[in-house]
C-alpha cells in the first residue's frame, strides 16, 4: 500500500462525489448508484470490480457522459463535468462490444475522433499510423471492420479511443469477449499501453483475477456502493467485509470471539478455544463476536495439533496444488490449499481426522 505522502503527490484525475443514479421514477426507481464517492489518481490503472448489476458500468457511463447523475458531482481535474455531453469531455471509451463503425475501415475508425476535433490531415495521418503501430495493427489499416478477428477489433477499439489523446481512458469490460489465451495477452498489452501512454485508465470488470493482475488500485462494488478501495494486495489480503472477501478469491469464514483489540490488531478466540492474532479491517466497530477470514493457502492441514480440527470431507487435486475440504468440529466448512510436491501426495483421505494450522498473521477480522 502506498504511504500517505506518496498518494498525495499524485493529482486526482477523476473524482466522483456522492453520486446517486436512479433509473425510473417514484417507487419503481432503482438506485444503480447509491452515494458513491471515489477519487482516481493521475496515471493510475484503476479498476471497478463487481458482479453484474453492481453499478460499475453505470459509474463508467456517468464519467463518459452517456448518463447524467441524479445527485452528486463528477470532477475531472477539479472541474465539474457532470453536466457536459460526452463530446465535450476529454475522456474516451473502449466499449464492451468494441462498437467499431462498420461503414469505416480500421484507419478511418481510428481517425474518427481526430477528424471530429478538426485536426489537420497531416496530423491525423501520422497520429493514426502511430496508434496502429502502438496496437500492432500497422498492416491492417485498410481492412473493413468485418474482416478482422475479435482480438484485432479489440486493438482497433483501443487505438481509436487513444488516438485523440484523452485525459482518461474508460474501458468497459473490453476483454470479456475474448478467449482465455487472448485475454491473458491483452491484459499484458493493456498494462504496457497504460505505462507507455501515461494515461489514466479506468477499467470495469467482473473478473477478479483480471482486476488483481492489472490494477494499481481496485474499487470493489456491490449493489450500487463501493465497499472497499485499495491495491490488489489490500483487497485480497485485507478485505474489509464479507462480500469483498468472498468475491475476491476463495476464502474461509470463521466465527470468533474478540478477546483483545488495539491498534488494528486483535486477538480472537476460535470455536476450538484456541486464540490467534489477527489484523482488523478499517472501520470495524468494537464488538464481542466477529467474522474472521483465512485464505486457504494460508493454512495447512496437519495430522496432529493445529488451532482447529475436523474431518476430511473431500480431496481435490488441481495439478499445482490440492484442496482439502475439512468439516470443522463446530460444523462449519474449511478449505486448505496445499502446494503439491512431485514425489508425494498430500497424505489425507476422505474421513481422516485433520488439524488445521493457521499461518501467523493469516487471519483478518471483518468490518461487519
Amino acid at each position: 500500500m502506498p504511504k500517505p505522502e506518496e498518494a498525495e503527490q499524485k493529482r486526482v484525475a477523476v473524482e466522483a462525489r456522492s453520486i446517486v443514479k436512479a433509473f425510473g421514477q417514484g417507487s419503481n426507481a432503482i438506485r444503480a448508484l447509491d452515494n458513491v464517492s471515489v477519487a482516481i489518481r493521475e496515471n493510475e490503472f484503476f479498476t471497478l470490480l463487481g458482479p453484474s448489476g453492481c453499478g460499475k458500468t453505470t459509474l463508467l457511463r456517468l464519467i463518459a457522459g452517456f448518463e447524467y447523475p441524479t445527485e452528486g458531482a463528477i470532477l475531472l481535474y477539479g472541474d465539474d463535468i457532470a453536466g457536459l455531453p460526452p463530446f465535450k469531455r476529454p475522456v474516451n471509451t473502449v466499449f464492451q462490444s468494441y462498437a467499431l463503425f462498420p461503414h469505416l475501415t480500421v484507419s478511418e475508425n481510428v481517425a474518427f475522433g481526430l477528424e471530429m476535433l478538426g485536426r489537420s490531415k497531416d496530423e491525423i495521418k501520422s497520429r493514426v499510423a502511430a496508434m496502429l503501430k502502438l496496437v500492432h495493427m500497422e498492416e491492417l489499416g485498410n481492412r473493413r471492420t468485418d474482416q478482422i478477428s475479435g482480438g484485432q477489433a479489440q486493438r482497433v477499439a483501443l487505438a481509436r479511443a487513444l488516438a485523440p489523446g484523452p485525459k482518461v481512458l474508460l474501458l468497459d469490460e473490453p476483454l470479456s469477449a475474448l478467449d482465455y489465451k487472448l485475454r491473458k495477452e491483452m491484459q499484458i498489452e493493456l498494462k504496457r499501453m497504460q505505462s507507455e501512454t501515461g494515461i489514466t485508465f479506468i477499467f470495469v470488470t467482473h473478473d477478479q483475477e483480471e482486476a488483481l493482475t492489472m490494477s494499481d488500485r481496485i474499487a470493489v462494488m456491490s449493489k450500487g456502493r463501493i465497499l472497499q478501495v485499495g491495491s490488489p494486495w489490500d483487497i485480497y489480503d485485507k478485505p474489509a467485509d464479507r462480500f469483498v472477501a468472498d468475491f475476491i478469491g476463495e476464502t474461509n469464514f470463521l466465527t470468533a470471539a474478540v478477546v483483545d483489540i488495539a491498534n488494528s490488531r486483535a486477538t480472537v478466540r476460535l470455536s476450538s478455544g484456541k486464540e490467534i492474532p489477527a489484523t482488523v479491517a478499517e472501520g470495524m466497530q468494537p464488538k464481542h463476536e466477529a467474522t474472521i477470514v483465512v485464505r486457504p493457502e494460508h493454512a495447512r492441514a496437519v495430522k496432529k495439533g493445529g488451532q482447529l480440527s475436523g474431518t476430511v470431507e473431500n480431496v481435490v487435486y488441481f495439478g499445482t496444488d490440492t484442496h482439502i475440504h475439512i468439516r470443522l468440529e463446530d460444523g462449519s466448512p474449511f478449505t486448505v490449499r496445499q502446494q503439491n510436491a512431485r514425489s508425494e501426495f498430500c497424505g489425507f483421505e476422505i474421513g481422516d481426522p485433520a488439524g488445521i494450522e493457521i499461518a501467523a498473521d493469516a487471519a483478518q477480522v471483518l468490518r461487519d
Binding site: 463530446f87 471509451t93 462498437a99 478511418e108 485523440p164
Partner: protein, 307 residues
C-alpha cells in the same frame, strides 16, 4: 448391368431434373406474370393502331414510338418535338423527385422516433403508420381533396383566422398532386427506414458522441451511413409508384396537370392509340430503370467514400 459410376450418373441426372421440377411453379409465375406481359407490351408498341383502339396484328410500324417524342403538324406536315409529352415527362420526374425528397425528410425523423421508443411500444407506432393502407387509395385521395379544396379545412381555418381573405387555389395544381403523393407514399418511406433503424446499434451512436462528434456530425457521419440501405429502399419504393401515379394526379390535378400514368391511360382509352400507350409504358419503365441505376450507383459511391 450398371456400374457404380452409371448409378451415380443417373442419380445426379434425377437430382437435376427434380431441381427444375421443384422450381417450375416459381419460374412459371415469373415468366407468365412478370416477364411475358412486358414482351406483349413491347410487341404492341411496334404495331399499327386499330381504328377503334386495339392494334392491327401483323402490321408493324414505328408510329407509336415516333409519336412519343415527335408530332407532325396537321397542316404543313413539319416535324416538331412533342412538347406536350415532354412536359408531362418532366412534370412526372419533378413531382416524383420532390415526393421522394419530402417523404424522406418527413419519414426519417418519424422512423427514428419509432425506432427509439421502448421495444414493446414500437409495434403500436408501426401499426399506426400502416393504418392508411386499410383504406382504398381513391378514398384517401378524395380525403386529401376535402382538406385542400377551396372550401376545405386548410382554407377555412386560414380564412377564419384572417391570415388570408381569398381561398388559396391548391386544388388542380402541381402542389396538390405533390401533397397527395407525399401523404399517400409516406408510409412506404417510413417502413423500410424504420426496418434499418431498428437494427441500428445505438452503441455506435454513443461511440460517435464519445469521439467528439456533435449531434449533427453523429447524424451525418454515423446514423445516415448506417441506415443508407433503408434510405435507398424507401426512396425506390416511393419514387417508382410516384412516377407512374394515376389516381392522385387524376383527382387532385384535374384534367390539365397530367402525369405519365394519366397520359398512358389516355392512349388506351379515349385516345385509341394503343401502340403509343405501349411505347409510353416502356419509356416510363426505362426512365425508372435509368433513374434507379443512377441513384443506386451514386448512393453506393458516396457510401464507399465516407459512408
Amino acid at each position: 448391368m450398371s456400374s457404380a459410376a452409371e448409378i451415380a450418373r443417373q442419380t445426379q441426372q434425377r437430382e437435376i431434373r427434380n431441381r427444375w421440377l421443384l422450381s417450375a411453379p416459381a419460374l412459371l409465375i415469373i415468366f407468365f406474370a412478370a416477364i411475358g406481359p412486358l414482351f406483349v407490351v413491347l410487341a404492341y408498341s411496334f404495331m399499327v393502331k386499330g381504328d377503334y383502339g386495339d392494334v392491327k396484328f401483323g402490321q408493324y410500324s414505328l408510329d407509336g414510338w415516333f409519336s412519343v417524342f415527335f408530332q407532325r403538324d396537321i397542316f404543313d406536315d413539319t416535324l416538331t418535338l412533342a412538347d406536350a409529352h415532354l412536359s408531362i415527362f418532366w412534370r412526372s420526374l419533378k413531382l416524383s423527385f420532390f415526393t421522394t425528397l419530402l417523404t424522406l425528410l418527413l419519414g426519417f425523423p418519424t422512423a427514428y422516433f419509432i425506432a427509439t421508443r421502448p421495444r414493446n411500444t414500437r409495434e403500436i407506432w408501426v401499426f399506426l403508420v400502416t393504418i392508411p393502407f386499410w383504406t382504398n387509395l381513391l378514398i384517401r385521395t378524395f380525403a386529401m381533396q376535402q382538406v385542400i379544396r377551396n372550401e376545405g379545412v386548410v382554407n377555412s381555418v386560414l380564412m377564419w383566422t384572417g391570415i388570408i381573405d381569398q381561398p388559396l387555389q391548391i386544388m388542380f395544381t402541381d402542389t396538390a398532386i405533390l401533397l397527395g403523393m407525399v401523404y399517400v407514399y409516406l408510409p412506404l418511406m417510413i417502413l423500410p427506414l424504420y426496418a434499418s433503424m431498428e437494427k441500428l446499434d445505438f452503441r455506435l451512436i454513443e461511440a460517435g458522441y464519445d469521439l467528439y462528434a456533435g449531434r449533427l456530425q453523429v447524424l451525418w457521419r454515423v446514423i445516415i451511413p448506417l441506415v443508407k440501405p433503408g434510405v435507398i429502399a424507401g426512396s425506390i419504393l416511393v419514387f417508382i409508384p410516384s412516377l407512374g401515379a394515376y389516381v392522385i394526379p387524376r383527382v387532385l390535378g384535374g384534367g390539365k396537370n397530367l402525369m405519365l400514368g394519366n397520359l398512358i391511360e389516355l392512349q388506351f382509352g379515349a385516345g385509341r392509340n394503343w401502340p403509343l400507350g405501349a411505347a409510353l409504358s416502356i419509356t416510363l419503365m426505362v426512365i425508372v430503370m435509368v433513374a434507379l441505376l443512377f441513384y443506386v450507383r451514386n448512393a453506393a459511391r458516396s457510401g464507399a467514400q465516407h459512408g
